[in-house]
Symmetry: C2
Subunit: 122 residues, 2 copies
Amino acid sequence: MTISEVSEKYGMTQDTLRYYERVGLIPSVPRKPSGVRDYDEHSCGWVEFIRCMRSAGLPVETLIEYVRLWQEGSKTKAARKHLLIEEKKRLDKRIAEMQATQARLASKIAHYDNMNRVAETL
Amino acid sequence: MTISEVSEKYGMTQDTLRYYERVGLIPSVPRKPSGVRDYDEHSCGWVEFIRCMRSAGLPVETLIEYVRLWQEGSKTKAARKHLLIEEKKRLDKRIAEMQATQARLASKIAHYDNMNRVAETL
DNA sequence: TTACTACATGGTGTTCACTCAAAGTCAATA
DNA sequence: TATTGACTTTGAGTGAACACCATGTAGTAA
């Protein structure tokens, strides 16, 4: 697959895909003899995984570290697991915060609804 | 209350509090004759509200708009409600995305656990 | 009066995560 | 053959949201 196809498929710009590869967020993508990127299953898998993690706000830096460990092979399994657990903790916390705000927004909206109803019945 | 007390109370820097006021994220705070900020109940309420909304990632821009509408009085109630509903929609979506990632992380971690167990029993 | 502290303003710097521009290569098409 | 269009790299630029700094002043303690 070309970069434009991957860009299309996952809804990311080509610039972002090149950037991800450049900084090590995605292991280096295979090339055609001309030097043009030719994404295979493996690379696509990484793209999809990183997109998912980034969409949840995991920092680029941390994901780079994860990819780096992954490339070092099975001896880094414990470190990778640790990294994932730490990130999940942060994520859990952020979700909890967001749910609190969600509830607060809901109640504020309900309040506006009530005001409207009061206005109508007056 | 002084800015340092408010900063302490809500866990935000004085710089952030001044920044929020400057860009209109918080209605202007009353001052002592000397020009020093003297936060009252009302201002503290805004600080707390904005901190909550920001912690969930609502954009500064949108919150500025909300404050602007609020200051225009009751004729903007409908607009404010609309704004809150839109932001809640975005938040709901964002939370759903993050929960998907949360589940994915959990499963990945479980996978590492399984590998360990396999290694132990071998 | 001097010293000290907390505050003020205005302007610049930083970080994160891209995003774009410039200049060049390569393959296919008119 | 010439041109078009997609791709390449390197490096600089952008925007959001603060963080930091220099300089100045009000209020208080010794």
